[in-house]
Every structure is written in C-alpha cells, then in structure tokens.
C-alpha cells in the first residue's frame, strides 16, 4: 500500500485531502443546520439532476411536438381534402343558383308571351368556326317543330332547323343565311338582320338616308313569322353609308352563343 502511495505521491496527497474533506463535511453544519456533505452533494448533484431533467424534459417535449406535428399534418391533409370537397360543393351550389336565376329569367320571359314555350337544355354545340348550330334536349314529342323560334331572356338565338322525336337541331341567327325581321326601338325603322357566319350580324335593307346610330338597340319586328315581336336582338356597333342605296350596319348580338346552356323554344300552335 505504502509502495503504491510512494509511486504516485500526488494521487496519495489527493486521496488524503479528500479523506480530510469528507471528515470535515460529515461534521460541519451550515447555517441551516444541514451537514455540509449533504449540502455539497446537493451542490454537486443538483446540476446533474437538473441537466438530466432538462434533457429528458427536452426529449419528451420534442417527441410530443413531433407527435403533435404529425397529427397536425394529418389534420392538415384532412382539412385540405375537406376544403377541396367543399369547394366542389360550393361550385355546384353556385351552378344551381345560377341555373335557378336563369330559370327565373325564363319564367318572366314565358309570362310575357301568350304562346307556349318549352325550356330545353343544350346537349351539343358545334365549334363556332365550323357550323352555327346546336342540339337541344327536346323534339317533336314535346311539340317542337321546324322553324320554331329559339330565344333566351337576353335575346333571340335562332330557329329550329330540324327535329327528331327527342332532340331538335337549332340554327343560330349568326349562321350564314339565317335572318330575322328587325326594327329599332325608337324610330321603329325596320330591316332584316342576317348572319354571315361570324359572331356578328348584318342589318340590311336600311336606306342610306336613314339615321342609325351606334349603340341603338335592335329588336325583332315579328314580320318574319318566326320570331315573336319585340325580342331583343343586339346593339348596333357600326353604322355607315353603303356604296349603293343601303347602309352597312353591324349588330352585336346580346346572346353569347359560346356560353349557352339552356334555351327556350317558342312552340307554335
């Protein structure tokens, strides 16, 4: 033992000093009457304990946060899915609302006329640059006949070109060769509105000496025996004197043929 101590004198010194320190610590009491050894052990072990507590608490907190984030991610995904579903439902409801609004317009229009009308959805449309025609869900079984007028609350659409028992083909007023009797609202000036295959209409047979201003609204005159009288057709967008005796007048139709979803057929007796 002594040999070991002699080989490492500083270790032996440290051991002896530690012995003295321990002897003192078990005897001496501090102001609170607590043995110093206990105070010192508290002093030494408290930081260790608090560090361990800090680490375990931190790890627990991190794990909880991770779990919370994981749950939040799941919740987020669920809310995203629900949000998408609600958006679809909202779009559907808005569609239903607009349909109902349009129906209200059609109902008002129907009440204006004494003749029978039939509301039909559009089930097929040709490309506007190819043919100005569309097909509706309603045919001869519903009383629809050739040359029945097809209208919307905004204005006239065209006429029935052909029918089957369950469907009918409609020629738009913008089709080349399609025409309707038309007149101005104020001056009651009458002419013929004709389609030329474009999205615009030409108002023909208005003499050069007549005054037609841009912005005037053109209505059906009822002289063509197809369209009822006083249905809106469109607004004059260009009006100039022609090379011969008739003016060159361009009319922008009120109906947006690209967005037609439902139309009303005026069923003739």
């Amino acid at each position: 033992m002594m040999l070991l101590l002699q080989r490492k004198p500083f270790v032996s010194l440290a051991a002896l000093l530690l012995t003295n320190l321990l002897l003192l610590s078990v005897q001496v009491r501090n102001e609170e009457g607590r043995v110093l050894l206990r105070s010192w052990s508290l002093l030494v072990f408290t930081p260790i304990a608090s560090t361990v507590h800090f680490l375990t608490d931190g790890i627990t907190h991190a794990v909880r946060q991770y779990a919370l984030l994981y749950r939040a991610q799941q919740e987020n995904n669920r809310l995203h899915a629900e949000n998408a579903r609600l958006k679809v439902e909202l779009a559907q409801l808005q569609g239903i609302k607009s349909v109902l609004a349009r129906r209200q317009g059609y109902q008002l229009l129907q009440e204006q006329f004494l003749f029978d009308t039939f509301l039909a959805p559009v089930i097929w449309k040709s490309a506007p640059f190819y043919a100005h025609r569309l097909v509706i869900n309603g045919g001869s079984r519903r009383g629809i006949q050739k040359d029945d007028a097809v209208i919307t609350p905004e204005g006239i659409v065209g006429r029935v070109w052909a029918t089957t028992p369950f469907t009918a083909e409609v020629e738009l007023i913008t089709n080349a060769g399609a025409a309707a009797g038309a007149m101005l609202e104020d001056s009651r000036l009458q002419g013929v509105v004709q389609g030329d295959g474009s999205t615009l209409l030409q108002w023909n047979f208005i003499p050069n000496y007549e005054s037609v201003e841009v912005g005037n609204i053109v209505y059906t005159s009822g002289t063509d025996r197809i369209y009822p009288k006083a249905l809106p057709i469109g607004r004059v967008t260009k009006s100039s004197k022609g090379p011969a005796i008739y003016r060159k007048i361009q009319v922008q139709p009120f109906v947006d043929y690209l967005r037609l979803e439902e139309i009303m057929v005026v069923v003739s007796e």
Binding site: M2, L5, Q6, P9, L17, T19
Partner: protein, 163 residues
C-alpha cells in the same frame, strides 16, 4: 533517505504527540505546534507520500485532542508533510537559523490554511492573531532546536581524525 525514519519511530512520535496534546491541548499556553514539527521532520527525511500520511495522522491526533473538527489540522498537516518532503530536495538547511525560519514560515502557513478552511466552512475562527504571531517564532525556534537535537541523536557527529 526513506529508511532513516522507521515505522516504530513514527509510532513513538505519535505517542509523544498524543501525550503532549493530552497535557497541553491546542491552543495551549506553550505555543508549540509539535504535530507540525514532527510531520515536517518525517516528511523532511522520507518520501512525500509518507510525509503526507504522517501529516494526516499527526493532524487528526491534534484535532482529536483540541476538540476541533476532525480534518481541520489534518488537511494542513497533510499538505505541509507532503510539501516538507519536496522542500528537502530543493533546500539545504544545515544551519539552525535557516531551520528556525523555515519551520516558523511553515507554522504561519499551517495557521493560514486552518483559518482559511474555517472561513470557507463558515465556522468561527478559533485562532487569534496574537496567538498565531507568538506561535510562529516559538514553534520556529523550539522546532529548530528539537530538529538539531534529533539530528544529533540520529546522526551523531563522527570525528574521522580519531578513526
């Protein structure tokens, strides 16, 4: 030099210290720190480890009889016993005066260590400054004297001319 101080000698010195401390417990009127002197002496003529072990033994003995906290003088004597051994390797102290000064200085150091420990432990300081000031020269001079006598006993002067 390790073999110079035998264990039986240490035991005898411990016994002397115990009797001395029993008769004149610290703080005594004699102002002599005998345990310090013996710890220094053993450390001086032996290894640092042995000096430290003897230091703690003499210090604890002093603590027992002075009824102070065990380890108070034990710590200081351990350090001084250890340090005394190292001092013997660096210093050559043949003259009486040098020994007195060294022992007096180490006595001062012993008191400083004890006072510092009492202060650090938050205990009332038992050593008075006056007593410390008296103890330093007394321990130094008496220690130096005992050192000298002990040296003469252990290492008798040989007149080589008569051989």
């Amino acid at each position: 030099m390790n073999g110079i101080i035998r264990n039986s000698e240490i035991v005898a010195l411990l016994a002397i210290t115990a009797v001395f401390e029993f008769l004149f417990p610290t703080p005594s009127a004699l102002y002599l720190d005998l345990p310090l002197f013996f710890a220094l002496y053993i450390g001086w003529y032996s290894s640092p480890a042995k000096g430290a072990v003897c230091g703690i033994a003499f210090g604890l003995l002093q603590d027992v009889f002075s009824r102070s906290y065990l380890g108070l003088n034990g710590t200081s004597k351990t350090l001084l016993g250890f340090g005394g051994s190292y001092l013997s390797k660096w210093l050559v102290l043949e003259s009486f005066l040098a020994r007195c000064v060294l022992i007096g200085f180490l006595s001062l150091l012993d008191n400083v260590i004890v006072i510092a420990m009492e202060f650090l432990l938050g205990q009332p300081i038992q050593q008075g400054w006056l007593r410390t000031l008296i103890e330093i020269p007394v321990t130094g001079i008496l220690g130096g004297g005992i050192f000298q006598i002990y040296d003469r006993v252990k290492f008798p002067h040989k007149d080589f001319r008569r051989l």
